[in-house]
């Protein structure tokens, strides 16, 4: 190798080295940038602001949603099967929670119109656990009387008209009108002496009533010596516990008044929060950091 070619080679490799060095720095900056941005997605999780009411069966333990976050593949198949469109997907403002399904109960609660928990069946990863069979098995949250002062029943008031105003878009199953299709809440007029919408529309309470009715029919048929043509109920298809009831309490002035009381059977579906006819914030809300089986 002659001296001149050797020199030439070094000059070449110098500029080459310089461009390589620049490329390396650029690549390092790109890596750092993208990693930092993706880590920024943890902020809403750490702050706890991304916790929401989740669809039935979500793999979570109260506010610890790590399993739900990790197992969900963010495809939205649960969104697609919900007959009342209760399920929505989170956006980027929820950071790593992007694409996770949630329910805004005040806007549209899960009313178990589908009976069979379609979202659970649709979930491709079991992020909505397949261990559930019936609505009463779910543990989404737990209802709580948040603003007794605004509750109509507490003031001894009744309710007349449509629950959430004529422009409300939400749907609800009204069994006695249409067993199979949820109807707009805005088309259903109420006229009740003491407001008990949260109790009367509770899907768990409705199911308990239906079960009691069926059981009565079955017993009657049995006592008449006919073959039991009404199928026997089994498992949690019939909720084992009541979820909500109207209780009579004495107020400070010694007057008797009614108030809805949440019971152990509440699954946190949010129908009470949705139907509460109080304008603005509802009197009754669903907490996601409490569930029935929680101490």
């Amino acid at each position: 190798m002659t001296k001149s070619t050797k020199k030439k080679k070094i000059v070449l490799s110098k500029s080459r080295r310089e461009s390589n060095r620049r490329e390396f720095i650029r690549s390092a900056v790109l890596t750092a940038g993208v990693v930092t941005l993706s880590l920024a997605g943890f902020i809403p999780v750490v702050q706890g602001t991304s916790s929401r009411l989740r669809p039935p069966g979500a793999l979570k333990n109260l506010l610890d949603e790590q399993q739900f976050y990790s197992s969900c593949i963010k495809c939205g198949q649960c969104v697609q099967v919900c007959p009342v469109n209760a399920i929505k997907l989170s956006d980027l403002d929820e950071g790593i929670g992007i694409g996770l399904p949630y329910i805004d109960a005040r806007e549209q609660a899960c009313d178990f119109s589908c009976d069979g928990l379609q979202c659970v069946l649709a979930c491709p990863t079991g992020s909505l656990t397949h261990d559930l069979d019936y609505p009463a098995d779910t543990r989404m949250g737990f209802a709580r009387m948040d603003k007794p002062k605004s509750c109509l029943a507490v003031h001894g008031k009744g309710f007349k008209g449509v629950a959430r105003g004529p422009d409300y878009k939400g749907l609800l199953r009204y069994d006695e009108i249409d067993r199979w299709n949820p109807l707009p809440v805005a088309e259903h007029e109420y006229d009740i002496e003491i407001c008990d919408l949260c109790v009367r529309q509770c899907p768990i309470e409705i199911r308990i009533t239906q079960c009691a009715e069926k059981e009565k029919q079955r017993l009657e048929a049995k006592s008449e010596g006919k073959l039991a043509r009404v199928a026997e109920q089994h498992g949690n298809e019939c909720p084992p516990k009541h979820a909500i009831e109207m209780q009579v309490i004495q107020d400070r002035n010694g007057l008797m008044t009614m108030v809805p009381a949440v019971l152990d059977g509440c699954v946190g579906c949010g129908v009470c929060e949705m139907i509460c006819p109080v304008e603005g914030d509802p009197a009754i809300v669903v907490d996601i950091d409490k569930i029935t089986d929680w101490g």
Binding site: K74, L92, G99, P124
Partner: protein, 323 residues
């Protein structure tokens, strides 16, 4: 075997291997030798001219239609409640049958540390599907981000051509680094971190369930690709591409190169999303007369369209024996 090793090597960011003179068969050397001094600019120009008469953008057209139709199918299935293609790009049901994107499923399994049966069914189906169809075929034939990136790439190339901006490159190994980082982040944190910034998932969900603020991130990426670096996300970041490129190493569907009539003018390398895979079209770089383009190739077919001498073509390995 050589194909698999060379493919994986290039997927993970190594430079294409240069065959030594000894490795090249005599017939290939003869072809190279024949062309020295015989190929003039006029020859190449006339070949281009002839080529333009016969074809143009056949594969690009088919591909764009496919991307639009597939993504539209997702939307239609949801909006009109037909059970055709329910879900999103990350996981779906095709006429009730589970499908799961390999990379999304991998991220979920790494983060969740369980294997769900439905996900196994879905990933197996998708694995076999893309195995037959070429692996990174997913990128150029289905991924909604790819289509947008292709359009901004046109703007980018135009701007560079007008010398308004300068195109910056990154090291191709960056993508492998990202692949490891995203896998580690999923394992260690227990969250599917990559899904948060994946423009494929974001766009697919936006198309189906409506737009959201996440589209701003996609917009930033597209702007970056327009003004800073050509196809940066797909070339240097996206782990989905790596996953499918690995699948593609054993796929029979490939782009194949024949050195016989090649003018080595490089039209194919100019339009290619992953031009390193076409380095074998440079004179002296091929190790044989007939060679398959390695699996990092997205099978987009643009090189097949643009090649003035029909030296690049699609092939399904083994199929010619049956036909």
């Amino acid at each position: 075997m050589n194909y698999i090793i060379e493919s994986l090597s290039q997927v993970f960011g190594n430079k294409p291997s240069r065959p030594s003179k000894e490795e090249q068969p005599e017939a290939l050397k003869a072809i190279y030798k024949r062309k020295v001094g015989n190929l003039t600019k006029a020859d190449i120009e006339s070949a281009r001219h002839e080529h333009r008469k016969t074809c143009c953008n056949k594969w690009t057209r088919r591909r764009w239609i496919t991307i639009i139709v597939v993504n539209f199918l997702f939307l239609v299935s949801y909006k009109f409640d037909v059970q055709l293609l329910e879900g999103a790009m990350t996981a779906s049901r095709f006429v009730g049958f589970h499908l799961a994107d390999l990379n999304s499923a991998l991220q979920v399994m790494l983060a969740y540390k369980h294997v769900v049966l439905n996900l196994v069914i879905g990933t197996t189906t998708v694995f076999i599907m893309w195995l037959l169809l070429g692996g990174r075929t997913f990128c150029s034939w289905v991924c909604p981000y790819h289509l947008l990136a292709e359009w901004t790439e046109m703007i980018h190339v135009w701007l560079v051509g007008k010398k308004i901006i300068k195109s910056h490159t990154f090291h191709r190994k960056t993508r492998s680094v990202f692949y490891v980082i995203f896998a580690l982040m999923a394992i260690l944190s227990g969250y599917t971190v990559f899904e948060t910034i994946s423009p494929t998932g974001i766009l697919s969900r936006a198309i189906i369930y409506g737009p959201g603020v996440a589209l701003i991130w996609v917009g930033i990426l597209l702007l970056f690709e327009t003004f800073v670096s050509r196809r940066a996300w797909c070339r240097y970041v996206c782990p989905i591409g790596v996953t499918y490129a690995v699948v593609g190493t054993i796929s029979p569907l490939r782009v194949t190169y024949n050195a016989e009539n090649c003018h080595h003018e490089g039209d194919c390398r100019k339009i290619c999303e992953v031009p390193h895979v076409l380095d074998l079209t440079i004179r002296g770089r091929a190790s044989d007369i007939n060679l398959d383009v390695v699996s990092d190739c997205t099978r987009c077919g643009m090189c097949v369209d643009v090649c003035p001498t029909d030296s690049l073509n699609f092939k399904f390995k083994g199929l010619d024996k049956f036909l």
